[in-house]
Every structure is written in C-alpha cells, then in structure tokens.
Amino acid sequence: MVPISYHLILSGILFTIGVTGVLLRRNIIIIFMAIELMLNAVNLSFVALARHFGNMDGQIIVFFVMSVAAAEVAVGLAIILLVFRGRETVNADELNLMRW
C-alpha cells in the first residue's frame, strides 16, 4: 500500500504547480485555471486523508469545495468578462490602474 505521505506529497506538487502557474502566466483566465488546479490538489489531499482516517469528512469537504469552486468560477468569469469589456485585455500586466 502506498503510504499516506505519497498522496500528500503528490498533492503538494500539484498545489505548487498551481501556485507557479498563478505567478507565471499573464492571461488571467489561465491564472484562474491554475487556482482551480490548486483547489484540486487540495481535494486530492482530502480524499486521501479520508481514506486514511476512514471517515467521510474528507469526501464531504471535497463536495463543498466543488460547490465553492463552482461559485468562484461563476463570479470569477463574470469579473473577467467585466474587465475584458472595459479594457479589452486579459493580460495581468496591463491591469495596473491603481498602484503605489
């Protein structure tokens, strides 16, 4: 059997890939997708831990996380649309009206 730490480390790697994506990409939609990747990495942890502890809490949490992700996506994409309409861009580098 694979020890729990394998799952957790895999989850950590995926999470970091998500984080790196957020830092790396300029397109805010991809940034957003990277965030989704982070959430999924966490989900992996939850599911693995649920299996490890043998209680359902982890799985139920994943259920809630999915709802949250859905809500975030709805609002997030609406915001991206809003911004795109105003600025004609989804490049994060160009969205700096306010600074300093």
Partner: protein
C-alpha cells in the same frame, strides 16, 4: 492503492498539470486541465471515493471547465497575450515554486505517520454514506452552500449583464 497504480497516475498527473500552466494556448491549457481533472477522478476512484469521483467528472470537468472554455472562446483568446517583459517575475515564480515544493515535501515527509490505515466502514464512499453525513452532520453547511451559490448567481448576473 498500490505503488504501481500510484505512479501510473501520479506521473501523468504531474506532467499534465505542468502542461496546464506551460502551454501557451489558453484553449489547450483548459483541455489539459480537463485531463487533469479526469485523472484525478480516476485517482479518487482508487481511494474509494466513488461519489466524489463522479462529481469530479460531472461538476468539474463537465460544468466548470465548459464554462472556462466558453469564456475563452467568447473572448476569442487564441494564444497567451502578446509577450511583455516579465522583469524576472517568471524566474522568481519558478524559484518560488521549487522552494515551496521542497518545503512542502520536507514537511510532509517528516509527517509520514507510521500508523496503519484505519479499516474502512462498509459503505465508505458511497452515495448513501455521503448523503447521510451531508444531511445530518453537515446540514447547516449544506444550507449555507445554497446561499453561497445564490450569491454567485446574483453576482455573476450583476457583473456580467450589460
């Protein structure tokens, strides 16, 4: 889950996840993400999370990712936006990512508990188990999720309508 299965799933997962953030085209990124989500669903199956695996495909890969693709198409974004100088941000991102993963790995490695996995209850991961928990213990959070989604809907409408 045995080691073979684990690595058979984990290695493609990581590679594809890297592709998500590395591929210049948003559409491909999204498709790679869908792939990641599918792989995860498979992974969940091996972890006895049947319902979650199903939800992962239906909700995530199905609904959410479609929304993403829809927006990408709507905005007509074929490739990553025109290159602008990154001021070392990209390098910092990768260095940061490496450090972060190293730290996470080290800390998680330390926490590898020797304790054996608990024996699973009979109906672990089934719709029944999930449902009964959801409507008893997690009743109130479940209700609040309703409000959360309501907010999201209202918000999306408020923001996106012309």
């Amino acid at each position: 889950m045995d080691f073979v299965t684990f690595f058979a799933l984990a290695i493609p997962l990581v590679v594809i996840a890297i592709m998500v953030i590395a591929h210049p085209s948003p559409v491909y990124s999204a498709l790679f993400l869908v792939l990641t989500l599918f792989l995860l669903a498979v992974y969940f199956l091996f972890l006895d999370a049947h319902v979650v695996a199903a939800l992962q495909i239906i909700v995530y890969a199905g609904a959410i990712m479609v929304l993403f693709l829809f927006v990408i198409m709507l905005l007509n974004l074929q490739s990553d936006t025109q290159p602008t100088p990154r001021h070392g941000l990209g390098r910092a991102a990768i260095i940061g990512g490496v450090i972060l993963v190293a730290e996470l790995g080290l800390l998680l490695q330390r926490s590898s508990s020797e304790q054996a996995e608990s024996s699973l209850p009979e109906n672990f991961g089934t719709v029944e188990a999930l449902g009964s928990q959801l409507f008893t213990t997690y009743l109130l959070p479940f209700e609040i999720t309703g409000i959360l989604l309501l907010v999201a809907v209202v918000g999306a409408v408020v923001l996106a309508k012309r």
